[in-house]
C-alpha cells in the first residue's frame, strides 16, 4: 500500500493529460499511487492514460462530473493520504513531499495546501491569450488542490455529485463548516493551466452551481445557528 493516493479525473483533456500524469510520476515523494478516472471522455484521453501502462491505474465511468470521478478514484485507492490533480494542470516535483511533511509533523492537521500559479497554455493564440489572462499571479489553492487525510475526506462524505461547477468550493465550504484544519505550504507547487476550454467556459450553462454551493453552505450554518439557539450549551 502506498502512502498517498493521487486521483486525476479527466473529461476530454487529451491534449493536457500526459503532462499532468508525468508531473505525478516525477514526484520526489515516491510512495504514491496514481489513479486516472476517465469521466466518459469522447476524445483520446483514455488512450493517453493507458499509454502509461502499469505506472497508473485507469478507471472509466459514464459521464458523472468531476466530483463523482474523484470519489470513484478514492473508493478504488488505499493510501492514507489523498491528493487530487485536475487533468489540465501540473505539479512541481516536491508538491506531495512538502504537503505530506506538514501532515506528518502535526497529527491534528487534516489537510495541507500549496500556492497555485496560473499559466497560459502555450498553444493559445494572441486573442485567446488576451481573453484568458490570469486573474491572479499566485493564489492559495483550495483543498481539492492539496493533500488530506483519508479520514478527513470520509468525515465530510467526499465530493458532491450534484454539481458540475464549483465542486471544489462546495468541498472547501463543507471542510470549513465541519471544523477541519488545513495549513498552507508557502511555495508555488501547483500550476494551473488557463486555456480556452476550462470548466467555467465549457460548463457555462452550469454557473448556477456556484450559487447552489453557496446556498448549501448558508443552509448548514443557518441550521447550526438554530440548533445553538435551541441549546446554547451545545
Amino acid at each position: 500500500m502506498k502512502a498517498v493516493s493521487v486521483i486525476i479525473p479527466v473529461y476530454n483533456y487529451e491534449m493536457y493529460l500526459a503532462e499532468a500524469i508525468q508531473s505525478v510520476l516525477d514526484q520526489s515523494f515516491t510512495e504514491v499511487e496514481l489513479t486516472v478516472v476517465d469521466d466518459g471522455s469522447s476524445d483520446g484521453s483514455g488512450d493517453v492514460a493507458k499509454g502509461f501502462g502499469d505506472a497508473i491505474t485507469y478507471l472509466r465511468q459514464d459521464r458523472g462530473g468531476n466530483g463523482a470521478a474523484r470519489n470513484l478514484g478514492v473508493a478504488n485507492s488505499s493510501g492514507s493520504y489523498l491528493s487530487f490533480l485536475d487533468a489540465d494542470d501540473r505539479w512541481h516535483p516536491t508538491k506531495i513531499e512538502r504537503e505530506v511533511a506538514l501532515l506528518e509533523a502535526d497529527a491534528e492537521l487534516d489537510g495541507a495546501r500549496s500556492l497555485v500559479r496560473e499559466f497560459i497554455s502555450p498553444e493559445l493564440d494572441g486573442e485567446e491569450r488576451h481573453r484568458v489572462r490570469a486573474t491572479h499571479d499566485v493564489i492559495p489553492g483550495l483543498l481539492h488542490y492539496g493533500t488530506m487525510r483519508r479520514t478527513a475526506f470520509e468525515q465530510i462524505g467526499g465530493f458532491t455529485t450534484d454539481l458540475q461547477l464549483a465542486v471544489g468550493v462546495d468541498f472547501s465550504a463543507r471542510w470549513a463548516d465541519a471544523g477541519l484544519r488545513s495549513e498552507l505550504v508557502e511555495e508555488v507547487l501547483i500550476e494551473r493551466r488557463l486555456h480556452s476550454s476550462n470548466n467555467w467556459a465549457r460548463e457555462s450553462n452550469r454557473r448556477g452551481d456556484l450559487a447552489m454551493a453557496v446556498k448549501a453552505s448558508l443552509e448548514r450554518r443557518r441550521k447550526a445557528a438554530e440548533a445553538k439557539q435551541k441549546d446554547p450549551g451545545s
Binding site: R192, A201, S204, L218
Partner: protein, 142 residues
Amino acid sequence: MGGKLSINVPRVVHETIDGEVIVIDLATGTYFSLQGGAADVWTLISAGHSSEAMVDALAAAYGESQDSIRSTLEPFVKELESEALVVDAGDQSSAQTGTAEISVDGAFSPYLEKHTDMAELILLDPVHEVDSMGWPHRPEDA
C-alpha cells in the same frame, strides 16, 4: 428612477433555489440572499421590466399604492446598483419584456442579506477567468 436595468452579467451569477434567490458577485466574492420581496424585484429586472412597470406590477401584487411601492423600491434599486448587481440596460432597453411571477409573502420590504464569509473561497476558486463576453477583470478593477 430611470429606465430599464439589467442583471450585471457575467460579473454576477444568480440562481433561485428552493424559493430563495442567491446572487454572487464574482469580483468581490460577496453573496446575497434576497429577502422581503427583493426576489420579486430581481425577477422583474431579469424579465426586462422598466422601473415604472415594476412599480405597477408590485403595487398590484402587494395591494399597495404606487407611491408607497415607489418610495420603498427606489432606495432598494439604488442599493442593487451600488453593489454592482444591476446596471443600466443601455441599448438593451428596447428588449422585450418577459413574464415575471410575483410570489407575495408578507409586506413589500425588500432588502439584501449580505454575506462575505465565503469570499475567500469564491475568489480562490479559479474558474471565472474565461468568458466570451470578456469576463473577468481582476478584483481590484471592480
